[in-house]
Symmetry: D2
Subunit: 486 residues, 4 copies
């Protein structure tokens, strides 16, 4: 089934408990902090119903139509289809709405190619996972995840030493119907716009963190669940012209607080197993599926950055200066770097797991590392190209609503290359990517999307066949030895 | 005379014309976009009246008391006094309010040590400059400057080709009383809080830009002068706790638009001389005085950054991790780098101009280049140390005003190292330096404070005695030659 | 025809004129500065005759067997074959012998897919090019090129002003048999080991540099041609163990000096056309074919670097330190970055020129830019991992030839992870990549292989479809406008 | 007493045992690997006898004349004298001979201001230290040090586990006359040219490394002591013109191997105390004195780099290109950065230890960190400015010894800005700083001079008054609180 945007928005009015500070939010589809982003989410559902994009964004299986991110890839052509679908969704927000419906769905789809990983000695949750995959695709579910502990709570020992309550979410009780959990999980981006939240542990737990080692899914209106919104950024925007990205792309981040929340067994995927809690992402293509989406999403953003660099330079004729052309050529090479690494993941795809094909994992991590390392600098290039221009604009677009001021505005702010209003529109957009609080959140997000840099590099280290590279050196050195005594 | 804060604020209610978009601002001391920053400015005047800081911030000359930035340095001890005064003022805003009253005053004070530069064949404006210096210090004037043309208007030729009006400010008429100017100048930071605006050309003009080559000063309420405020950032702040820097340190940036503004001759310093318009800053210590202030201001900010790095790390115990300690040690070294370069400017001061002593200019430019090159990366380090913590806070501090939420907040958000509220206060402050729109403006500001990077480096190139360094190579090579034919 | 190494070496004893300083070299296959590198070249011919690599390194066409780099790619499978052949050749020298026989051959093969480019109004040289392509592949020719003017001679004007002879190669005369050229061209890497030298202009000429605008090919023993070798590095190596890369991979760089050299017309490809002289590389896939080889070659080197990083870390147990593992993970990601970009060039290949398929050009330039930007830093990582270890080795391997010293050596220099001799062998190899003069030449080479960085970025700029990226911004901004007056 | 160069060289012929591989070196003053560097050392002694530099390089105390680096600074003027002396010595080798006689002497001089640190509960070695200081300055001793364990041997545990001999130097026996030591120490730079070797532990030992915790000094010809030279670089140089730095500035690095070496008690400074073994450098100004010398030495090198950048750019007229001028301006700013930090250390000097004055320690570490972080990039800038020019030179200067070749050389290699021979001389010098093995050793040396980067940053961390910087944040935050409930 392919939901419509309207259907999705209706589903959000389900009694979910959301707080901004001490304010309880009644309806995310109408609240000023959320309503425009909610429309953005709806548009991601509606686009699938446009005939032009139907085949890009969905596929048939067993007579049913599913969103493309539920496709389990059996060959390179399937991988290309997945990539194209991610790209179309990402383009809808210029890559600025990262936790779109194709993100967590891809994790679950990846898991579904190898559900036996969920069957341990003690628990057989493989069928739960398969059932959840079927449920997701059938109902076109938008899920997010909350898979890291609160900052500072990674090591519960410190809390125990001081007799402080451990804040991180853990199982407090279990019975025949399911498990009861309490505590806090981070950082459920988009949760206010989602149907369900996947809770788990993406970062390795300490082996004795048994009670924290639970993985499950729950609807956003589950009893006992509160969503605490971080400071909403959309409230900074007075109108779309002056803050076009802030206006509609604040995907929101939410602290998930559970107070005695009951999870039925069929929605549990890992229990009491600190190692497995992490390995489900790694021993299945889940992490690769999900982060390939992130690579592609970044690519869309990179294209926006590149277009802005070009247009900002053109707005003042700077694109004719050799040094600026060099910068533009380099930025274009950056776009070709990330897209090259994405295409390369398909050309060098792996036959894994049995019967399926997965994007090249090392290249996916390389792309992830590249995005994380370079985002700040890429934005800094755009910032540099903007120069003081971002401050050389009137306080807001309402200058157009006063005849005299408008005349001055159009006279003084035009350049030989661009009219005043077009230039203001362009620089306001650029500012929303380099300088506004929205931009600030993006910079923080990209830096920590996949965790601290060592986390990504450890993934890269893990997937590397070191024998191969050591062997190159060994093989070379085997060709010569200590010379004869002369 | 040393003004009080109250006196200064009263002076701002003088009928000046300020627009935010299409809104005309009546009173900067009460308007929500300006009032808290206005109080910050007032505090910079009041501090001089505190006995504890009286000798740091002012000096006696001829029986009068003047602000320390009007001191013309005759020896290293005078330089130390100037530096200490700048530091105290900068510390009042943690270096976040750059165009404080000691900035442009320092330019003028620098000029006043060598007023003969203003006497050209055609015009003898040296006495005007001296008189203005006397006026400034006597009335404790807070002046800003607008010394660059609008972006894209640096080359008026393009406008002429297309028969477009040239937007940059220029002399349109002159008579016995003075000159009449029209057009736009950038980017008068703090102008809404100032008494007067210095208008000139800090960037080299084309030699035939004769009519643009005018330098003068005017009160902020001059007839025909409008100040167009860029988008106010302070409006994003709902309260001080959640946005402590935004709240009171938006120093504002203003586009200066003159429509037939009359400037009396005694307030004109350069006229019809494209070369001299620039050289007044370089052939006097003006540029060095003013930018030494900027070095010192950055030092204050660096100290805030360092303190935040330390406290953020401590809030989660991360300061005990060796890799984090290394980062902290490196950040401390950065603080010692900028302070070292500031102290070095005094130890290696130059005897120039005749009878005066000036901070070492090459070291001042080196510090300026260092600040410009490194600011983004310094902020990025703090951003990295913050991690996801900046998003793991409630939407606003009003969570404290609901009993239940407050209980959850205090339980879940504390760490073994820090209470929940203290931690939130710390992270909100950190966010205001790394992620808010205020932070975004700071990043843009530091990158372009002194113009594009090539401008700073050209200053450095100009002040370098290349013969000296070439001579080192020549001298070395003179010690050997082509060997004998063997 | 596939030459053998022996046949190739015999061809080098052809009377070619080579100078090292004032020494005339008689035979490059025996001279100590060249003989081991000559053997390396021979091995690149012999490997094609090993059955295991026959299909990787050669192909059949019209009943003849040709080296794979002469394959004109009609589909992705052909591109894969070319890439695999380049990789095998590059692996033979771990990417350290860049101007291998597959480099210039690839340029010519690329040209041969579109020979009409060589037909101008005045000259029809298309057939000359086709004939030369046939000649090359038939005789398995190893050609190099000399396609840049001497440093400082790019602008002959300065020489003319001072009445100095213009040093750069140019046509001095022409007659029915051909053209006569004199002057110097840079920097014919490998020329001493080659059959022929392609002379041309890779960097744009000034349109009025007509006489310099000549492109032709000549055998290395042409009358009037002298090859001036830059300082030979191989002479630094006393034995292979202590300097394993220096020993056999100094591919040499040569200044080409022509004194009235006669070139027959059938070997001339461009004449008197400053624009075309450059465009033959760009309007055909020549530049893409040739630089894809360079991408692949760098990939081989990257694999050596990665293997060395791993083995050096293991030699002291440092690979167990988390911070070192992070570095290794990052370096592995670098290897996956360059390989990803190479695979991506195939997945995103272009159907161009008509009837042929070419690697994605923007991605090829992106890879080239990436290699140029990153090589120094990649080597620096290895340098850092080596630490002081590279200096903590005996002066040379002959320590093994004294019984007492050997005993001390084996006792003191072993680590729990590695024996003394193995460790010395490893660190001597690492040093030859990070610290020896050979390493120094590699660092210079990679930085300037494709010219100064702006040259590569201009290629990238040229191949970018800016309308596409501007359109992303325009399209986004078309979705909203000035809000209604409220 | 101030030694002459001749006296110093004579002292080196003392029967010291030096190996290069399996070759035993008889006389360092005549051996081709050492003789020119030995002359460099001699020149550092002779310069003190030139009247022009007598007061720069030596001082009177108690009627005796001592080298300036033995001056214990009581005020800023003394610090200035020390700095000037270091600068003169460093200038003699353009900063390329780091372990000059003023380096270790400065450590000992620093210690001598606070000898009580050497008096522990068990041992009273303070007097030994004072006596050694007196001995050094009286005899104008050139000492080096070996203060780190062999790579991989930092943790002896791994050796013990595998029953391997621990290679690092340790006390094997003690008796009334002294202690007996065996094992290896790293990396006694200049030892072959020194009188004595200080052995100790600059890097923290594990507290239970008791037997390794010995600090002493011994003459270079001590019985049982062997000096193993790493691969000599000077042997690469055929003549001074082609390799001017290699020729005379290979200061050498030596592995110190002790086989039952007896050290008399009066030459022992620390015994059986792993903590104190490190603290003697930190609790006295030793580390600051010694590394200030290193800062100053780097400054000399920076000046050579800057001069070369300027001259290389001028040799082709590139200095007229705006982008190159920007680079030169930036490089000049780098020179002013390091010199600024050196001057700043004096202006902000510390009154410590009691009765003495020491350079600002945090600024000294900041400078050290800056040098370590930036050296590779500084060299890379020079490398970039050189471009392909370094390879566009004849194989050696003997081209001047053949009439015909010389004519061609002078014709083809001149530029309008510089003659052929001058240009070759310049580029050969530049290559010796960016590309030769000598250059490679310098790059490794600067990166590890003070140990891995975390070591320097830990010094910086240790010397930082964190309360001060935390206090800035606390003080700021104390100015506001949770707002009233509205």
């Amino acid at each position: 089934m392919l939901k419509t945007g309207k259907e999705h928005l209706e589903g959000l009015r389900d009694g979910r408990v959301i707080f901004i500070g001490n304010e309880k939010v009644d309806d995310v589809t109408t609240h000023p902090a959320f309503k425009n982003a909610a429309k953005t989410v709806a548009s991601l559902y509606d686009i699938k119903h446009q005939s032009e994009f139907r085949d890009v964004l969905s596929f048939d299986e067993g007579g049913e139509r599913y969103s493309m991110w539920f496709l389990r890839a059996k060959n390179k052509e399937d991988l290309r289809k997945r990539t194209a679908a991610h790209k179309k969704i990402a383009d809808m927000s210029c890559g600025l709405f990262g936790r779109s419906p194709d993100h967590v769905s891809s994790f679950v789809t990846g898991m579904s190619t190898n559900p036996s990983v969920f069957d341990s000695d003690k628990y057989k949750f493989g069928n739960n996972l398969t059932a959840y995959y079927e449920h997701m695709r059938k109902n076109d579910i938008f899920a997010t995840y909350a898979v890291i502990p609160p900052q500072a709570a990674r090591n519960p020992e410190f809390y125990e030493k001081q007799n402080l309550p451990i804040p991180t979410l853990r199982v407090v009780r279990e019975d025949d119907d399911g498990v009861v959990v309490s505590g806090m999980k981070m950082l459920a981006t988009s949760a206010v716009f989602c149907d369900e939240i996947w809770v788990g542990n993406l970062i390795p737990l300490d082996p004795n963190q048994v009670k924290e080692a639970v993985t499950f899914v729950m609807p956003c209106n589950t009893k006992g669940l509160s969503l605490w919104m971080r400071q909403p950024i959309a409230l900074n925007a007075e109108n779309e012209f002056d803050s076009p990205l802030t206006w509609k792309f604040d995907e929101t981040d939410v602290l998930v607080i559970c107070d005695e929340v009951k999870i039925p067994w069929e929605k549990v995927f890992v229990m009491d197993d600190a190692i497995l809690a992490r390995e489900i992402y790694i021993k299945t293509p889940a992490h690769c599926y999900g982060n390939h989406q992130s690579n592609v999403r970044f690519w869309s953003k990179m294209q926006l950055i590149l277009g802005l660099c070009s247009k900002v330079a053109k707005s003042t004729g700077a694109d004719q200066i050799p040094a600026v052309r060099e910068v533009l050529g380099r930025m274009s090479a950056q776009e070709a770097t990330i897209s090259g690494m994405i295409y390369g993941q398909i050309e060098a795809a792996e036959e894994w797991p049995a019967g399926y094909m997965t994007c090249n994992r090392r290249m996916m991590y390389a792309a992830l590392d590249w995005c994380t390392e370079n985002h700040s600098a890429l934005i800094d290039e755009l910032r540099t190209l903007c120069g003081g221009g971002v401050f050389q604009m009137p306080g807001n677009v309402h200058v157009m609503h006063d005849e005299n001021l408008r005349a001055d505005f159009e006279k003084y702010f035009q350049t030989p290359q661009m009219g005043a209003l077009d230039r203001m529109k362009l620089f306001r957009l650029a500012w929303d990517l380099v300088g506004s609080e929205f931009a600030g959140r993006q910079q923080q997000y990209e830096k920590f999307y996949a965790g601290a840099s060592f986390i990504i590099r450890n993934h890269s280290h893990r997937e590397t066949n070191w024998e191969h590279f050591d062997g190159i050196v060994d093989n070379f050195m085997s060709g010569y030895d200590v010379p004869e005594h002369s």
